[in-house]
């Protein structure tokens, strides 16, 4: 295999010299001490370097994995990202505080509502701005709807990555559309909602909208039951995902993993419980935990989280108070917080989404920094993929749940 066209295609030899021990040995039997190729060498052959992405059907955007394969087994995997980098944080420093609000929609474009909330929370902390109770409830409702939306999409995409020919994806997208319709009715936009403001939100939810949202939340368990009946008990899915991409608890904690991925590894850490921001302490909900930390756990934790989100939604609709949605003292024009710094974080669908702001008293933040959950969750990709096949790498990536808008910023 020394003259393999694959090596030639690459320009440089694809053999990872550092990893493989020298497989040429001196044999005392060979005449003249010639180099003889060992049996192991004969059977192992060369390593193959495959560049998956930036345009590949299942890298969820412009993400690239440079995988070194031994047969189909991954021996090395280098994630490459930055293809969608657009200077989000630098632009944030050159825009007013409110000017960045619509721009946060574009970070994780599936979860604009939670991005808005995290950013609003950071600015409100910076300016010491209180929020009316009705808005707090609306934020919870929208955040939990976003969680449903995001986890539904993930379940669909993950199954698509395992090769389920679009059926689960179509079922998931049917429900996603319903939530997007709600977002459109409320904020005027389906995905780029730009809904939160510092000290409140942009428009109030009408009783009709609340009624529609309530109906959706009540019917969502039905969809989940249908979806799980379709796919969760499927033997092929279990065989493909159980024991694949195991992330040990220790690694998860030390790498700063958050969200469903961390909880699938068995760590009880949910910012809704830990920080108790907004009105979350008023709701009864449970935090599901996985014991294996593999892809199946990551999928199931999300499904179970959706069921808890439905419970939160039901309680929020029951408790929703009337009142103003905007703090009357909130300043919108000429908004200049006092010098200082603040970090606002919430439990986004993908993990801890946080915004760190430093104010120097001007109209723009002095420093603006995003803590993107999917970027940090992505850092353990190689650890999870090593030793698995290339087919597994695709579903492991799918189970991390990344959105490249947020990874690259």
């Amino acid at each position: 295999m020394t003259n393999s066209p694959i090596v030639a295609l690459h320009g440089t030899p694809a053999v990872a010299g550092g990893n493989a021990p020298s497989e040429i040995c001196h044999s005392p039997l060979a005449p003249g001490g010639a180099h003889v190729r060992s049996v192991r060498d004969e059977f192992h052959g060369d390593l193959l370097e495959v560049s998956m992405g930036p345009h590949h059907p299942s890298t969820h955007g412009v993400f690239r994995m440079i995988a070194t394969l031994d047969g189909e087994t991954i021996v090395k995997l280098k994630p490459v990202f930055g293809y969608l980098h657009r200077n989000h944080e630098k632009i944030g420093e050159n825009t007013t505080y409110l000017g960045s609000m619509p721009y946060t929609d574009r970070l994780d474009y599936l979860c604009s509502m939670t991005n808005n909330w995290a950013y609003a929370l950071a600015v409100e902390k910076l300016a010491g701005q209180p929020v009316p109770e009705r808005t707090e409830y609306l934020r919870v409702i929208l955040a939990e709807l976003t969680r449903l939306l995001n986890h539904t999409c993930l379940a669909g995409f993950l199954l698509q990555d395992t090769g389920a020919s679009g059926t689960p994806l179509m079922y998931a997208f049917r429900e996603r559309e319903k939530i997007l319709d709600l977002f459109e009715a409320l904020s005027g936009s389906r995905m780029m909602c730009n809904y939160q403001r510092f000290g409140g939100c942009r428009v109030d939810a009408s009783p009709e909208w609340l009624e529609a949202a309530k109906r959706l939340a009540d019917g969502y368990n039905e969809f989940l039951d249908e979806y799980e009946a379709l796919i969760t008990g499927n033997e092929i899915l279990m065989a493909r995902t159980q024991g694949v991409g195991v992330m040990p608890r220790q690694l998860a904690v030390s790498a700063g993993i958050t969200g469903p991925m961390l909880r699938a590894a068995g760590v009880d850490y949910d910012i809704r419980k830990v920080d108790g921001y907004g009105v979350y302490p008023r709701f009864n909900f449970r935090v599901p935990l996985g014991d294996h930390g593999d892809t199946y756990d990551r999928y199931m934790i999300r499904v179970l989280e959706m069921r808890e989100s439905i419970e939160i939604l039901r309680q929020a609709f029951a408790q929703l108070p009337s009142g103003p949605i905007m703090d009357p003292k909130a300043k919108i024009r000429g908004f200049k917080p006092k010098p200082g710094e603040a970090y606002g974080r919430i439990e986004g669908p993908k993990g801890e989404i946080g915004f760190y702001l430093i104010s120097d008293g001007g109209a723009n933040p002095y420093r603006y920094r995003v803590r993107p959950p999917s970027f940090i969750n992505l850092t353990v990709l190689e650890d999870m993929c090593l030793g698995h096949s290339i087919a597994d790498a695709v579903i492991i990536l799918g189970s991390i749940d990344i959105v490249l808008g947020e990874v690259d910023r």
């Binding site: 295609l9 395992t162 090769g163 059926t167 092929i236 493909r240 159980q242 599901p288 096949s389």
Partner: protein, 430 residues
């Protein structure tokens, strides 16, 4: 026309091309005009010709009918597949394309035509560093091998293009050539995804060749012939006057049918065994570097392969062109064949719509550790069934019980072993 000429016109006197009408197999019901329609039509076209020409023309006619018939079936099948997938997935599927230059939409019936035009007018791209000859030959070879398999399929009573004594052997020998073509495509493209797909294809197709072949050995054992018409003949007759003697209705036959269909799924690269062209992993696998007409040829070959294997399954296990109930024999045999074929093809599509894909090691493990032993045990079950064919009364019940146990026992034991690594889980809450 003289009497002598008339006797020559009598179909099937001297040609072996279509099985002779005067063969001893003909039942009374098979004599209806509708039943003999294809042969009457053929004779209308060729009977006035002198003897040596007629044979050639009959052959040509049969080839044309099979080729065009299945080409049309392929076109329809692509539409049916997309429609069925669409219905499964809560969407209408293609429904816009109808008759060209009119406003007739016809439920998207024009879609195959539009697809064909699109495929034909697309640029044919060959990678610069590809092996150009193999790159060209692969789709041609694949299609050729697929078409060759149609030669021995009995499409109806007396409707078999070539009556070969070793027809089944020929069918699978010709079908095995497709593996070579898939590997050629993967290797010649000089693309890493294609190469990975080629390796997968070889591992998969060769692994599944074995259970595919082993699964129908009991059928040959029972029928005592390798001829396709002979196998259909072996399934003639009725038990208690209304239950057909199809192989699928016996314990060993049912097991063999399931093994055959699973292997056929893998052999025709269909989901959940579509690893060589795993879209989410290998872009399009061995098809990555193909475009335009060559790509269409691959698709055509895939569907032809699917049709051929389904048709073979119908022949081997589902009684071929025989009617399921005695009084339904008035319906022509080719209609029954088509109906059974469509039922199996629908199964293929349905499975595609609902299953995730296996991984390559799981795929081969399933073949070697489950399907092959199952097929071998099934051989024994069939032997037992054959030995005990004259048991009657309570012994008949015992025969069924033992045969069912011989099928179900290994299925449960080996299935448990295969799935011991995974199970549904329960989750705790913090």
């Amino acid at each position: 026309m003289t009497l002598v000429q008339l006797s020559r016109v009598t179909p099937g006197v001297s040609d072996w091309f279509f099985q002779s009408l005067s063969s001893p197999f003909i039942a009374a019901a098979g004599d209806s005009r509708l039943e003999r329609l294809p042969i009457i039509a053929r004779d209308l076209l060729t009977s006035r010709l002198p003897e040596p020409w007629r044979w050639w023309l009959n052959s040509l006619l049969a080839i044309l009918v099979v080729l065009f018939g299945f080409a049309i079936l392929f076109a329809l099948l692509t539409l049916v597949e997309r429609k069925v997938l669409g219905r499964v997935q809560n969407r209408p599927g293609p429904n816009r394309t109808g008759l060209p230059f009119t406003k007739l939409r016809l439920f998207g019936l024009g879609q195959p035509l539009a697809d064909g035009i699109k495929m034909l007018t697309k640029e044919d791209i060959v990678p610069r560093s590809a092996d150009k000859l193999l790159h060209f030959l692969a789709p041609v070879a694949l299609l050729a091998f697929s078409i060759l398999t149609f030669a021995v399929l009995p499409f109806g009573r007396n409707l078999v293009p070539v009556e070969l004594d070793a027809g089944i052997l020929y069918f699978f020998a010709a079908g095995a050539g497709t593996e070579l073509a898939v590997f050629m495509a993967g290797w010649a493209s000089r693309n890493k995804y294609s190469l990975l797909a080629a390796m997968r294809a070889l591992a998969q197709l060769i692994s599944y060749e074995l259970p595919l072949l082993l699964s129908f050995v009991p059928v040959i054992m029972m029928a005592g012939t390798l001829s396709t018409t002979g196998v259909v003949e072996a399934q003639a007759g009725w038990k208690f006057g209304f239950i057909p003697h199809w192989h699928v209705l016996t314990p060993w036959g049912f097991a063999a049918f399931v093994i055959f269909m699973v292997s056929a799924l893998a052999e025709s690269n269909r989901s959940p065994f579509d690893l060589p062209e795993a879209e989410s992993e290998l872009i399009a696998g061995h098809l990555t570097e193909y475009s335009g007409f060559k790509y269409a040829l691959f698709f055509m070959a895939e569907y032809f392969g699917m049709c051929a294997l389904s048709a073979m399954a119908v022949t081997l296990f589902l009684g071929g062109w025989r009617a399921p109930l005695p009084f339904l024999e008035i319906v022509p045999s080719y209609v029954w064949f088509a109906l059974k074929l469509f039922a199996l093809l629908f199964g293929f599509i349905w499975i595609r719509a609902t299953f995730p894909r296996l991984r390559i090691d799981q795929l081969t493990r399933f073949a070697w550790k489950f399907l092959v032993p199952m097929a071998l045990i099934n051989l024994g079950t069939a032997a037992f069934w054959s030995l005990t064919c004259n048991w009657s009364g309570p012994l008949q019940l015992a025969r069924w019980a033992i045969a069912l146990a011989l099928v179900a026992g290994p299925f449960v034991v080996m299935g448990r072993k295969l799935s011991r690594d995974y199970a549904p889980r329960t989750y705790r809450y913090a």
